[in-house]
């Protein structure tokens, strides 16, 4: 479980996060949504320890990040997996090399053990024929799968995803969403996803945090988001005509 308590973050003179408090449950897919510039990426980078908040605390299963020594922070980071928006695969390594990288860096496994583990996670993300290909030789959807495989290869406790289905076609996006949800439940990990995709929100958003101008504007589940009367949320979620019609139908059905 990740608990965030009143975090603030500024860059030069702009105050990006203005006191966000929330918590993310274990075994659930937690989504952060909000308009561009609302502070989602900064918030996620604070959770990852890439940015240090000026005020407030973030604790991972009771361990407050800022209270940890450098060694403990390093150990904690090895319990985190991250899927970046652009996949962030290492260009100079093959798919297999990318997946094996954390194992080579942080474990004392033999070559055959590493190979078995890499084969297992690549199979888990339904990628069996791309072991020796380079990131530039595979599609965006496959790159995302490799990024997920690399993120879970060390059995992380926390999985973070920044726009995991941006740039993907709707079908592949659903596949990636479902894969993340399955992995979250299967390994009982705390997953936090930063997204703009309303399909993801509706499909896998067990907990949704809505950020606006660096503040928490709303939080709830994908079921509650249909019912909310919070105008800030409805303006954002139902900005497309399709979703407006869906909501209208839902309200009519309810009445």
């Amino acid at each position: 479980m990740i608990e965030v308590n009143d975090i603030h973050k500024s860059f030069d003179n702009s105050h990006i996060l203005k006191g966000v408090t929330t918590s993310f449950q274990k075994g659930k897919t937690n989504l952060i949504i909000g308009q561009s510039g609302s502070g989602k990426t900064v918030f996620l980078k604070c959770l990852l320890g890439l940015f240090t908040p000026e005020e407030g605390t973030i604790s991972y299963d009771g361990k407050i990040y800022t209270d940890l020594t450098d060694e403990q922070k390093r150990d904690l980071r090895q319990e985190m997996g991250m899927v970046f928006q652009g996949s962030a695969l290492f260009d100079s390594m093959t798919v297999e090399g990318n997946v094996k990288f954390p194992l080579e860096m942080f474990t004392k496994q033999s070559k055959s053990e590493m190979q078995d583990r890499a084969d297992f996670v690549l199979k888990r993300v339904n990628l069996v024929d791309a072991h020796h290909k380079y990131p530039s030789e595979i599609s965006g959807g496959m790159q995302k799968r490799v990024a997920i495989a690399r993120a879970i290869v060390m059995n992380p406790k926390y999985l973070f995803c920044d726009e995991p289905n941006s740039g993907l076609d709707p079908k592949t996006a659903i596949v990636i969403d479902n894969l993340i949800k399955e992995i979250t439940e299967e390994y009982n990990i705390t997953t936090v996803i930063n997204t703009h995709d309303m399909n993801s929100v509706m499909e896998i958003g067990e907990k949704i945090l809505f950020l606006k101008d660096g503040l928490k504007a709303w939080e709830g589940s994908n079921k509650e988001i249909f019912k909310t009367d919070n105008e800030t949320v409805t303006d954002f979620v139902y900005s497309s005509d399709l979703f407006k019609k869906v909501r209208q139908m839902y309200i009519e059905e309810r009445n």
Binding site: R77, F101, E104
Partner: protein, 258 residues
Amino acid sequence: MLFLLGYTYFHPMNYLASIGRYAIMIKEVFKKPTKWRIMKSLILKEVDELIFGSLGILIFIAFFMGAVVAIQTALNITSELIPKNLVGFATRQSIILEFAPTFCSIIMAGKVGSYITSSIGTMRVTEQIDALEVMGVNALNYLVFPKIVALCLYPFIISIAMYVGIFGGWMAAVFGGFSTSADFIAGVQLDFIPFHVAYAFLKTLVFAFVLATVPSYHGFYMTGGALEVGKASTTSFVWTSVVIIVANYILTQLLLGQ
């Protein structure tokens, strides 16, 4: 001078902050080392890329550099009182003391420096450095340390450049009819001071450190997108050259000055 470097106004604090950040970067490079098994392969990869990959261009440049120095010296000897072996002597001194270590390092600032800045900068833009940091890898040690170690072999290619430069001078002098082979070789052997070679190698080692770290700094701390990677490469070349030239002056004063 700053105007010539493309800066229209001077921010002393920015430069001080950059120097401070560079010093912190160097400290971080030597902290928390990457596993030796991985580091070994990274070093070998960098040796291949930075050292062997630069050998061809440096040999080519050194050959013609030596040839031009020999011709220029020969053409400027107008008095009969000046001994003919001066062509070989001047070629050796110019090549060993300045042209091979300093001129080649400026060329390397363009070739190797741009490569280092653009490769690290692209990793920054595509979040590969963030990925390393999230995993708990010391990204500076992983990326910069192998380059520093690989460039410790830089004096090796400079020694080849010295040899080829003098050979180029001999070819130009003898086949161009500016000097006899015997005169040229006598000049090369005249008043040889071994410390000059040591001085050149010492300079080269300092330049190697500059070549590995200044471009890495510009790549690692760059912000923005693809356009900024190009800008960072250009800035990196300018500053690497400036640091090499200033370091050359300081080292020459310290090692050869009275």
